[in-house]
Symmetry: C2
Subunit: 271 residues, 2 copies
């Protein structure tokens, strides 16, 4: 589907307020929402290779993904015995299933099924732990991160359209320019800086913390877009899915957050 403002509008008008609302509410509602998003990302990741004739196992990939989300919902107080046991048993069951199935190319089927648990599930699932940590701020820290990701993307787009000439990594993403990339970093910094000055984020952040957060969203988040573009280019598709109308798939929309969330989680755990 062509990406026009008219078919992008429903997602913008409904999507942004809904996500902000869920971020504010937090708790099981937000964890459940992210769990669904993570599962959809895993399905799209598997879909990218299913079209080439491989057979990643949705039926075992999804329960394994649920366990990872459950792990993050408990984090950092983890029932290691239950989680490790469940992961081990499901992985072994899956390997036996693949052996008996007689599928072609079991090596690739298994590799794609299992790697989907680490990228994207293990990375994006970190958002659950981040929002739970953020309970004491009523979710403001997580909201500021998500808003900054949006602002970074928009600033990169605007800077790139206005002044962008030299491509950053043309082999992977021919639309992204050096100027756009720098614009994204500036946008991310301004977003965090202003929200911090308004007292929105978290009480005791220093300017150094703001710079680190800007780096995480501006540099790591934008490079995450490239990783996602690389996967799509490798699979020969333009969008990872069609679920979100003109916005492509869920993986496309959450590509920055897949990389931003885990690193921000590590950052807050070090605070």
């Amino acid at each position: 589907m062509k990406s026009t403002l008219s078919n992008r509008l429903p997602i913008i008008v409904l999507g942004i307020p809904s996500v902000i609302y869920l971020l504010q509410v937090g708790g099981l509602l937000f964890s459940g929402f992210i769990t669904i998003v993570v599962c959809l990302c895993v399905v799209e990741f598997y879909n990218l290779k299913s079209e080439e004739g491989l057979e990643p196992s949705y039926i075992l990939g999804i329960p394994l993904t649920l366990i990872i989300c459950y792990f993050y919902n408990q984090f950092p107080y983890v029932d290691g015995v239950f989680i490790v046991s469940a992961l081990l048993l499901l992985i072994i069951t899956y390997l036996f299933y693949e052996m008996f199935s007689g599928h072609q190319k079991p090596f690739y089927n298994i590799s794609i099924t299992l790697s989907g648990l680490l990228y994207p599930a293990f990375l994006l699932g970190a958002m659950i732990a981040l929002r739970n940590w953020d309970e004491m701020n009523g979710g403001n820290f997580t909201i500021s991160m998500v808003v900054t990701v949006w602002i970074c993307d928009s600033a990169a787009y605007i800077f790139g359209r206005l002044w962008g000439k030299q491509k950053l990594i043309e082999r992977i993403s021919p639309n992204k320019t050096v100027v756009g990339f720098i614009g994204g970093i500036i946008g991310a910094f301004l977003s965090f800086y202003i929200m911090d000055q308004l007292g929105f984020i978290y009480q005791s952040l220093t300017i150094f913390d703001i710079l680190i957060l800007s780096f995480i969203v501006g540099v790591i988040g934008q490079l995450g877009d490239f990783v996602q573009s690389m996967f799509k280019r490798d699979a020969g598709v333009k969008d990872s899915g069609k679920l979100l109308l003109g916005h492509g798939g869920v993986l496309d929309r959450f590509d920055s957050l897949i990389f931003t969330s885990p690193v921000v989680l590590i950052f807050v755990l070090c605070l």
Copy 2:
């Protein structure tokens, strides 16, 4: 190299007493030994696909494997924050590295690198946690498991050679027969039963526990051999490596234990 008794002998004469000794000593010496074995298994797993022109990342796969072994050495008291942070950062670093490298087929490179962390690393690493749990018995429980795996393999081989006709899963392993498989289960049961009667394993095992353990080694362990055969058949090789002379690679030797150890770990955690 052809598998003859003469080139198998050094491994048997040196290997078996060495492994028994390490199992008795336990502690960091045993954990270190298994860590090396797990790393070698991951390298062989990657090698299976490197020969086809793919480029799994040894340089990031090995540190990630070390973290998994470290995790098991702490288990079930886990420093989740450090382990999760290190895993997340290394996975993200690896994804960026793969993006900048310009390798062909990044999707497959990434899938194989990451899935190697779950099979074999996450499965076989469980041996470390199992031996640590077993400290109160001086390692006898773990020794009895390893010895039973050897006896199961030998019984399966002898039964199969003497009376085996019908193949179990000819598509994957043309040498393994139904009779051999059943012989392996009988051998596993007798091994556990006799060691239990001699008071060697663990004080409070019931006959029902012995049956479960026999099932784990006899059925799950032997099916694990088939999974390993499936991977080799898929990659078009006979042995996973040449390190152990006539015994093939490390993956070949540890194939039963890759599946037996994690399930026995779960079993003892439920005791």
